[in-house]
């Protein structure tokens, strides 16, 4: 391995210093992408900056407005040591699809986002839930919607010296629920052929008042399909509305063909998953309010 220096700062300001003095530095959260990349020779950091001693990076907190998830909090701790799954069952299911138990013990939602794989499972679920990225850097703090954070395969919007601190998910109302579904050839330890995240809000008459649909693994980045959400708002999620959302998602998809599936197959499957994810989110709301 090329790593010459390991540092574990205890504060954000200390971490920013390690990221902005010109050294070829990589941040380390769970290491499930970084250390594999170093092993394969695709990543060559001289300095590794372990983020897990910084309280803001691993904290998970829930207040009246939002759920804050430290970017380096492990999937296992989000799934088993926090209330996040009760607010966002779809996001939790997306995290639970990543890798094995061992990988989930280390991998983080922030890392899955920064790694920016087109097929990352947690990204469509974050986009569906309207999550924001809290970013800190030399110019101070700012926020950015998750759908704008990933700019291409393995490319994110972080500038030199910037650091993803936390993911901020607006706290859902009791009439809101999410879902995430993906298709893989195997049942676990596999990479999505297509993935769909959906968040719906229904009023007391079961009319949809808000909807976000995000699709993954069918474009260079996970996409927010605004037309699919718009097709659902104002309806009772009848067959015509769902068909319109499915068509909008298929329209937005521009997948590659590879060993996991052809472009045509992925485009078809993403529509099937949109319809099923809408039904699952709707069922969750009905169950929660009944």
């Amino acid at each position: 391995m090329s790593i010459q220096e390991f540092v574990a700062p205890h504060s954000l300001s200390e971490a920013k210093g390690f990221l902005s003095d010109g050294a070829a530095a990589s941040v380390l959260a769970g290491g499930t992408d970084l250390l594999v990349g170093v092993r394969l020779g695709t990543r060559n950091p001289e300095r590794v900056v372990d983020l897990k001693k910084i309280p803001e990076l691993t904290a998970i907190s829930i207040d009246a407005e939002a759920v804050h998830i430290g970017a380096a909090a492990s999937a296992f701790s989000i799934l088993h040591d926090s209330d996040v799954p009760s607010f966002f069952p779809g996001f939790a299911e997306a995290l639970d699809l990543i890798g094995s138990t061992q990988i989930q013990g280390r991998c983080s939602a922030g890392g899955n986002l920064c790694n920016a794989s087109p097929a990352a499972d947690s990204i469509p679920a974050l986009i569906a839930n309207g999550a924001q990225c809290l970013i800190t850097g030399p110019a101070g703090d700012h926020q950015m919607p998750v759908e704008d954070f990933v700019v291409g395969p393995s490319k994110n919007a972080l500038k030199e010296g910037e650091l993803l601190v936390a993911l901020i998910l607006p706290r859902p109302s009791p009439q809101t629920a999410d879902a995430y579904l993906r298709l893989t050839p195997r049942t676990e330890m596999d990479i999505a052929v297509a993935g769909v995240g959906v968040s719906l809000t229904l009023d007391e008459n079961a009319t949809c008042t808000a909807a976000r649909v995000s699709i993954g693994a069918v474009a260079p980045t996970a996409l927010l399909v605004e037309a699919a959400g718009a097709a659902l708002v104002g309806t009772q999620l009848d067959a015509a509305a769902i068909e319109a959302a499915v068509a909008a998602a298929r329209q937005s998809a521009c997948p590659i063909s590879d060993k996991r599936g052809t472009s045509e197959y992925r485009t078809h499957v993403v529509g099937v998953l949109v319809a099923r994810a809408i039904a699952q989110a709707q069922a969750r709301i009905v169950e929660a309010v009944s």
Partner: protein, 165 residues
């Protein structure tokens, strides 16, 4: 082989014992366990987190030791396969793997034992499906998994019965 001179001194608790070692900044925990601490029960298969042969617990969390930098475990607690049996008495997971013939070549077995013990501590009454998902990251090319799963479920049942007494 040129070894980097910038060795780090790390103190951690390994299988309950305070332990100090030197490592280079990029050295992974699996290599330190095997090469520096002579804890060769932890096996290395893929070195990329796919096979689970190097499964250990860090602060009670199941991880692949090939995807942890040794420097990260400063001040933390590591449990390896060497800490599973108590004074020569096999853990129920180990005993049941023997009884059910849940191993052949044995390379995956230390990782399976560590992961299965962690499963039962996390969920004392796992279903077969839960056990299969939990152990999905422990690859075995000999057994076809069925005997491993039977052994793990049998060990969980025995541990529940012992806890109820």
């Amino acid at each position: 082989m040129n070894k980097p001179l910038n060795k780090m001194a790390v103190q951690a608790t390994i299988n309950g014992e305070p332990t100090a070692f030197l490592c280079s900044p990029g050295q992974v925990l699996a290599d330190v366990l095997r090469d520096e601490l002579e804890l060769i029960g932890t096996k290395i298969g893929c070195n990329t987190g796919d096979c689970g042969a190097c499964s250990v617990l860090v602060n009670d969390r199941l991880v692949c030791a090939c995807l942890v930098l040794a420097a990260e475990i400063e001040g933390q607690a590591v449990q390896t396969i060497e800490g599973v049996a108590e004074g020569g008495v096999l853990h129920p997971v180990q005993q049941k793997l023997l009884e059910h013939a849940g191993l052949q070549c044995g390379i995956c077995t230390p990782g399976v034992v560590v992961a299965a013990k962690a499963l039962i501590e996390h969920n004392p009454n796992p279903t077969e499906e839960q056990a299969r998902y939990w152990l999905a990251g422990n690859l075995c090319r000999c057994t076809g998994y069925d005997k491993i799963i039977r052994a793990v479920l049998d060990a969980a049942q025995q541990m529940r019965e012992e806890a109820a007494v």
